[in-house]
Amino acid sequence: MKKTYVLDKLTARVTLELVLHGLDCAEDSPVYEEFAEEFHRIYPKAEKMIRPVGMLGFGELPEQIPAEEFPAGTKVLYGVLSIGEELSSASTKAFAEGDYVQGMLYNAIADAALFSLEQDMARYLREICEEHHVGIRKRLEAPQDIPMEIQKEVWECLNLKNSLDIDITCGYMLYPVKTSCLVFVLDAEEEMFEVQHDCSRCQRTDCRHRNISDLTLQIINEAGNSEIRCRKGSSLLEVLVQNGFHPDSPCGGTGRCGKCKVKIINGRANITAADEACFSAQELQEGWRLACRLVPEQNMTVFVPKEQTYQILETGVLQDKNEKTECAPEEMKQETEASCFNVAIDIGTTTLVFQLLDGRSGKVLHTVSMLNRQRTFGADVISRIQAANAGKLDGLSKAIRTDLRNGMQKLLDESDVNGTKIRRIAIGANTTMIHLLLGYDCSTLGVYPFEAVTLSMLNMNWTELVGGDTSCHAETVIFPGFSAFVGGDIVSGLYACGFDEKEEPALLIDLGTNGEMALGNRNHLLVTSTAAGPAFEGGNISCGTGSVAGAVCSVTLEKKVAQIKTLWNKPPVGICGTGVVELMAELVREEVVDETGLLEEEYFEDGFPVAETAEGKTLVFTQGDIRELQLAKAAVRAGIEILLKRYGVCKEQVTEVYVAGGFGHGLNKDKAIAIGMLPKEFREKITVVGNSCVAGLGRFLQEGSEEAVYTLVKNAEEINLAMDAEFQNCYMEAMMFETDTDE
């Protein structure tokens, strides 16, 4: 068995709260805002300077160093953590230049980072203790528990100079400055695990992090058990997120969606109003609570259920001048002798898609997709803007950069391609996603006149953008956007569908939460965002769900009895967007609803039954759900009508209608028309294009015409529907259903 362990998976977790608290900067201080802003400004830089390293190694207390009740020869584990010297040097330099605020902030960030590494170290300690069948009786720190000289012993025992390039001064201080040295006294009793810093014994009585009331939480989830330490005052959801868990929280932790369920195994937690609205009496008694409402007051053990898994749309349909080339999904991974590659990345609000493309032919070689971990801050763009404005910008920015690094690594690993072979990367995303990625202030995005910090095409180096250690240093392009509401992903979608070359007007509709659409040709484009809402993704629908296994995606009614199909043919768990649309169309056809959308009396109270889950629960479609869908489909239809009006063309003059978005892929055209979402005049012209963003990026990487992209943006004009009186009227009318069937 090993004697020393290098800890290679260490993550520093720094929050604004921790740093400002460490500086004695209270929220009501007149300089709080300024410090918070400065923190957000410099944190991305500071983060890059944090290089966490650590080691654990077995040893014995030496003869000459007295340590309270432990004699020489006592078996111990020595632990060392460091964040490197870069950040401290930056702090010193800032002070020397008279930039005191920056100097102090850098230092406070460094302290917070170093302190936070102990969480990861605790995990390693657990593993090592289990492997060696020992427990930890006590934690000793110099100089309060054991003389400084022990650091020399540790330095020699773990060979710190060679292993981690850590020096020691004649005063027994380890260098870099931000290095901590810990001695864990071992015990035969395996259950013991006293590893926490004991503030009450620490001599740094002026330390702002001094907290005798720290809590220890045991978290049980699919992956096993973990122990995390937190301060009182944060919600359990915040603590989980800070510690690398991803509980579902589409509403961003505001207590509205009921998805962040956890079960208290051990410990007490009050029942909040939100808990009561979400759980049955039985469930409450069993200990179920919403993590976002739960603020732990004492140590507890909590079970965190598995997160929903999503089926992600990865394909795009790329049209080039002569032929339609359909890009096949993952199965078409190819061994290739290509000497260079390009990568297209679609950063969606909910999912990210990475595509590896052959540098010469442009063919899609491999695709990787994953959920955007920002979803823990909120499912939609507005929640995330609000979170960013509330001080979480750095967390959001870090989240997406981490996902980009991981996604790229996965793409490269799975295709067995070296990062150095990537020539160029293109990124398409809506304007908010770009702001969060680059750490730009979002405060103007959500309020009139809705200004973005920048909408230009941006060029930079991949490592500059995402940080971290990577072999890929490719030139990266971020697609320009039209406005705060209509971003680079739509520009890319238009480019994919060849709008830069069209002479006749065509329409692109992105059916997602934002419901962006664009109408026009190469000379003139009108764009808008209809803010259709989450109904198309199963949001706000009582039995709604995302595109997960078992989601009801297709419905036919036979004499008012629903015949359904589910995703992956699994037992029904909920109704997803396409299922909602199809169900609605059927309800209209069989006249279970009238033209205003009012449900027949029989179903009015309890909803229309759709399917039964494996647990025997009936999935229903309620009057409330119908109203939600009406809002969404009316927004899309009215958006189309207004665009046509403002552009000055009629439906017959539109040559092509492209329907994009994850939802758009499974869409039944006839049913979408039947509920009035799309005009019937479009029936023969609809092309479902799937993920048009990634397809457009691919075309760009292949043909590389920045000018064509710029022209698209330049020739576009945005219409703000919310301010349009005619839109309101159109919107009202579009809510209705046509109950006479004349096909």
Partner: protein, 214 residues
Amino acid sequence: MAAQIINEISEFLQKGKAKNVKTLVEEALQQGIDPKDILNDGLLSAMMIVGGKFKRNEVFVPEVLVAARAMNAGLAILEPHLVEAGNEPKGKVVIGTVKGDMHDIGKNLVSMMLKGAGFEIYDLGTDVDAEVLIGKAEEVGADIICMSALLTTTMPYMQTVIDVLKEKGLRSKYVVMVGGAPVNEEFANKIGADYYTPDAATAAEVARKAVENK
């Protein structure tokens, strides 16, 4: 008129408004006010007030930092005029963290506050040798030598520095101030230092008095 604008400078400095301090200092100069008055009554006295508030826990480190930053902003404008007017600093200070010790934040804050008290500072950084510290003091004709130590294992080096001063017959030439978490008045007396101060604001006050009495 003069009093009013100087008052405004002082107010803004205390609030940490660097831009306002800059603008007003420029204005004051244009009005023909003596740069030394702007310095003493506008900037230095304002910093003293901030220091006093800090000691009484009425404001904390962040507020002090922005005030010091505002002062620097004003000082930058004032500097060339002060040189022209033949202004002398209140005194010269050589400061460093002793050999074997790499901590620097506390020392940096003391430097900041001493500068805010009108001193000329020579900050030698960390891990400073006795010879280097004393050498610099001799070179610039310092009034005060400040030492910082954050560890019980490095504190004794302060004694070494004082011993070297004595050996060279230089002890009475300098005021020796010490500080740092494990240091206290008892230790300071034991090693023969002149003053122990527990925080940067006190250090500035004591330094100021020390040179006045010299």
